[in-house]
Symmetry: C2
Subunit: 676 residues, 2 copies
């Protein structure tokens, strides 16, 4: 049976990659519109690629260093180093190919809206599917290959050796999500401050040297960043479940090890089928079209997974654990949508509070963000308990843990299509922007905006999903860490009356606060460099203000990339060093405490910041729709302050939590031998 | 030996109370100044008493209900109910007497500044000593009495039965600190919004019906609230250490049980002696005078405690554990001062960020608040580990826990004098306000302001102390909870891989976010009621605007008291109900997790909010000193927004964390029999 699962994983992942390539070439064949549009789109596309090239060059140097450290520092270091490099390459490839298509699709979506909104939906969604399929396809292909090769070569193989691959995924996610998060806001601030405020030229004006950097930023954060983040969760939850399967069971062990890969493969198949359900048949309800695809994929996935589990391990409790994760993920996603939507109570209450000034706007926004942690935390708690007991945890503790790990796999099983709907969001957003900039006519713009509005909802749900999966993955990594130690004969009991464990929890809880503080000030620091460069170009390039000369977009992108990556170093180093230092100096118990503390507090802070930021943004939009005095009113000015605060919350510090909590978890696992 | 300690405790606590009464009558004998001053002061005094009367009336009703529940619901319910009522009465008495003198001292301090700043310092500080001595004297007297009576009456006595007394202290603190916290900001907002904004009359104008409520609020929050908060920490840390002594040792058990009372008594003696070191000999350095008193008390306390511990239990490790707590407390206090002082880097960075608007002011303030969690968390971590191992935890686990508990007692041992310096702050602040309102002349005002400036520093340190002690107390209560269960034969292991414990930690971490959200919006809701009342009075009382008729101050106070207490109900109920619900439905393991989660996250949030709020406040003051454009500049306007957000942070939600985390801990302990 295990050979069939492995074979199936290879086949399905290759199908996913081929499907992505096919859809990608199809997207590129669509008409890219008029000259002006193509010019804008080309600049964004080239800018995005310039960003990635610059980023990859810097990453490469560090990657080699890390690989060498892994090789020398831990047992089976060669395998871990190979896995690490392989993980880096696959994740970087998925990000690069996904971004490539996304930045081709935006202009084509905009042009398609000239004739048919259904066609626009199709192009934008297809580009999302490209991203989704590359991510899941390459992830499963990578894990399956390493597992196959390592287990064929070594008789004493343990899935523990695969964690280097997860570390690689984390490494890329750190750059894409944390570095990208700083980049996107720094470019935004830099472009606005010199362009709008100092020079008085409108937003998105091509004379502004930072305008392309700004547009690139949106893709960097929401396409590449989100993709790398979810790829990391996807890979690490599968790896953790495989390892717990290895440690927890003696009967059917091989089957339990490979089951996560099997579920993931079924999820990919279901996602591919689901994509065919997305058609804008009813043009008045675009959300329903996308939902139909996700729903179809979920149902297919559930049915096939049930059959798989029944046949492979015969334990249907495991099946229900899988579904538990899926339901928890949806609950978190919907809660995110509710708390950040412009037309629900929370954001409206912030709009209303703006009437009495910026102070009350901020207070209300912070309160909304804090409140919004309720449903996600309860969802995760119910999910953990349900998965544990459904998988038989009351009689077999380790089987229960396997259930929790599998629920994380279940949450992300249909990632192929859910990531497609997430990625759809920024593509549609860009399309609306391009149709505005290229002045495509009222009808077309309205259609593009309708697509964008749907995208806002799916993007919000996607954000919630990313946070929820990060929390669950981080938790599962921690449980795996403890079980690995126990399997090595370390009788570790993480009793919270043990002062070391307590101190670990305190230190773990502290870290997200420090990260958030660092990242919020990082945006300002990186922005200053762009501001100086934009000022320099306006000063030295003759004819720029008059539109006679072109600004040097690439230089702005390089400078802001370097600035963002520099600001990323300290938080990144802390995330890598903290678990190692605590583990080496205070011992494995304190490290265990740290992993719990950072997961709990990191999750709370991620939800709080992402939702407060989203709600501030939409509270401003609600006022701009004409409520409470509309644009230009005092309430609007107050809401702009909230939006300014919300930007680094939702696009930099908040999403960075996802990465940092997972990164610490995987570092602890990879360096386990050091803590014994 | 144990009889001597108990006898000593009785003696020392009675001396403290007599000393407080003596100083109180001495303060009242000072000249209360001219008629105008007396009028203002009388109104504040009467208002404060009206607030307390109103509050106590409502508290009384609930107190009876809780006492009845205790009586019927748990074993030894009669004793717990008696302890509860006794705790309520003693804490309320300390608060009432302390407030009484504080509101008499402010005007006398102002008047004394006419002739001699040293005299002003003496009066304000003496009134602080009154508060300090009532708190420590009544606390020790109460614990010693109950212990004496219960142990004389019952052969199977356990210090566990004393926790009703701690619950009483928590109950009063809930009203004083959480209710008071909402009250003070609601009155502030209400007075400002109608008075300054709508009617255009200056701040502190006696025509404003809410002006007295506003002034009362300062005393309510910083005098009564702070006192009740620290009394709660003081009582509960002593009780927890007594109980752990009872559970941990077989040899010298009685001595270990009474040692915390002994240390507290020595601390009181040392504090009394320390007060004689406070004299403004060098009038240019008032801070040094206050520090001299605290320093002298600390040294005396250390020497005597060393002798006590050496003679009573012979384990000098316990002595070092005591000192550990003291040092951790000082570190947290100094860090609070650094992060909130107008003349240190953090607040200045916020002032600077105000130049680019309210948005950057808020971002920088939030970042400063998050950063400021670093030192307090590290201090607590180092403190826990040091106390545990110094007390012999590596060979005797329970002895180590006793060390941690004793370190909490040590942190608060000199509370008699540290609370005096804290309380000095608001008294000096009020004195400066009165000298301004009564137009006492430049020289006098300058002297009063010099006293006030010193008070700001001591108040900041006091805030840090309150947070640190709350965290440590809450932690010790949790450890005690687990040990009590174990002593009852429940083999509880709070392993954090157990999903129930994990879920408990998540839920515990969630609660501080929910409390903070509730409390931040509570201020706005309570303020509306005051606003309506103030508007009504301006409308219906003829001649009010012209200064010919007097407003109804008391009615404003009643309405805002009722409003604040109403808003307090939900957070208070959640704090009481959450541990009970989790304990009953998810079991003791989940409850244990909850207690850890809420302590860690509550501590982080308390520090974050208190320091961000303090820093915003002083960033505004720094600009008002003439920096970055001074008063009225754009930077100043931005800084005002930060201050508005900071107010509920530092005066409502932040301090409320202290109470809520302790309250949950004591509830878990009192209702232990329900979770078995």
């Amino acid at each position: 049976m295990q050979n069939q699962i492995l074979l199936g994983s290879f086949l399905v992942s290759i199908i996913a990659i081929l499907y992505a390539l096919y859809l990608g070439s199809k997207v590129k064949k669509y008409d890219a519109g008029n000259e002006k549009m193509q010019e804008i789109s080309d600049a964004i596309h080239k800018g995005a690629m310039a960003f990635l090239n610059r980023e990859y060059k810097i990453m490469l140097a560090f990657m080699v260093v890390v690989a060498i450290i892994l090789y020398f520092a831990i047992p089976h270091g060669l395998l871990q180093a190979i896995g690490f490099v392989f993980g880096c390459i696959l994740s970087a490839t998925a990000g690069r190919l996904g971004m490539h298509i996304a930045t081709k699709a935006n202009v084509r979506t905009a042009w398609a809206c000239n004739s048919d909104i259904g066609k626009g939906l199709k192009i934008a969604f297809s580009s999302g599917v490209v991203m989704g399929m590359f991510v899941v396809g390459l992830a499963v292909l990578g894990i399956a290959s390493l597992h196959y090769v390592f287990s064929a070569l070594y008789a004493d193989y343990s899935p523990e050796w695969l964690f280097g691959f997860g570390f690689g995924a984390s490494y890329i996610a750190l750059f894409a999500r944390v570095g990208g998060g700083i980049y996107t806001k720094a470019a935004d601030v830099g472009a606005d401050l010199v362009g709008k405020v100092e020079k008085g030229i409108p937003e998105d004006d091509p004379r502004n040297p930072a305008v392309i950097a700004d547009n690139v930023g949106d893709n960097v954060g929401d396409v590449a960043g989100m993709g790398a983040d979810l790829l990391e969760s996807y890979v690490e939850s599968i790896l953790a479940a495989m390892l717990i399967g290895f440690l927890a069971f003696s009967a059917n062990r091989e089957e339990y090890i490979l089951l996560p890969l099997g579920i993931a493969s079924i999820g990919i198949l279901a996602s591919i089928i689901g994509t065919f359900f997305v058609r804008a048949g009813n043009k008045n309800n675009l959300t329903a079209s996308l939902n139909m695809g996700v729903l179809a994929a979920s149902i297919i996935m559930a049915v096939l997974t049930f059959l798989l589990i029944k046949n492979v391990v015969g334990n249907t409790g495991i099946f229900w654990a899988t579904i538990t994760g899926l339901v928890a993920g949806i609950a978190i996603g919907l809660s995110t949508e509710y708390y950040t939507s412009a037309h629900q109570k929370p954001a409206k209450s912030i709009s209303e509070a703006s009437k009495t000034g910026a102070g009350t706007n901020i207070i209300e926004g912070l309160a909304v963000g804090m409140w919004s942690t309720l449903i996600p935390v309860v969802a995760v708690c119910v999910g953990i308990l349900a998965a544990f007991y459904l998988a038989g945890g009351s009689t077999d503790f380790k089987a229960g843990l396997y259930g929790v790990a599998i629920s994380a796999v279940g949450m992300l099983s249909t990632l192929g299509i859910t990531l497609a709907t997430d990625t759809y969001g920024p593509v549609a957003d860009n399309a609306a922007g391009i149709s505005e900039m290229a002045k495509l006519g009222k009808k077309t713009r309205e259609r593009a905006e309708a697509l964008d509005a749907v995208g806002n909802t799916t993007a919000a749900i996607g954000k919630g999903f990313a946070i929820g999966s990060a929390a669950l993955t981080s938790l599962v990594l921690y449980v795996t860490f403890v079980e690995v130690l126990r399997a090595k004969g370390i009788d570790i009991i993480l009793d919270v009356t043990n002062p070391k464990v307590l101190v670990g929890i305190f230190l773990g809880g502290l870290l997200p606060f420090i990260f958030a503080a660092l990242l919020m000030t990082a945006v300002g620091k990186a922005a200053i460099k762009i501001i100086n460069e934009v000022r320099r170009q306006f000063k030295t390039i003759k004819g720029l203000m008059e539109g006679k000369a072109k600004p040097d977009y690439e230089r702005c992108i390089h400078i802001s990339t370097d600035g963002a990556l520099k600001e990323m170093i300290i938080p990144g180093l802390i995330a890598v060093a903290a678990p190692i230092i605590v583990g080496v100096f205070l011992g494995a118990e304190a490290l265990g405490g740290l992993l719990v503390g950072k997961t709990v507090v990191g999750f709370l802070m991620a939800v709080f910041m992402a939702n407060a930021g989203g709600a501030w943004d939409n509270a401003k939009k609600y006022i701009e729709e004409g409520n409470f005095g509309g644009k230009g009113s005092d309430a609007h000015k107050a809401a702009v302050v909230g939006d300014t605060v919300g930007d680094p919350f939702k696009d930099t510090a908040g999403p960075a939590m996802n990465i940092l909590i997972k990164l610490m978890g995987i570092v602890a696992l990879v360096f386990v031998p050091w803590f014994i």
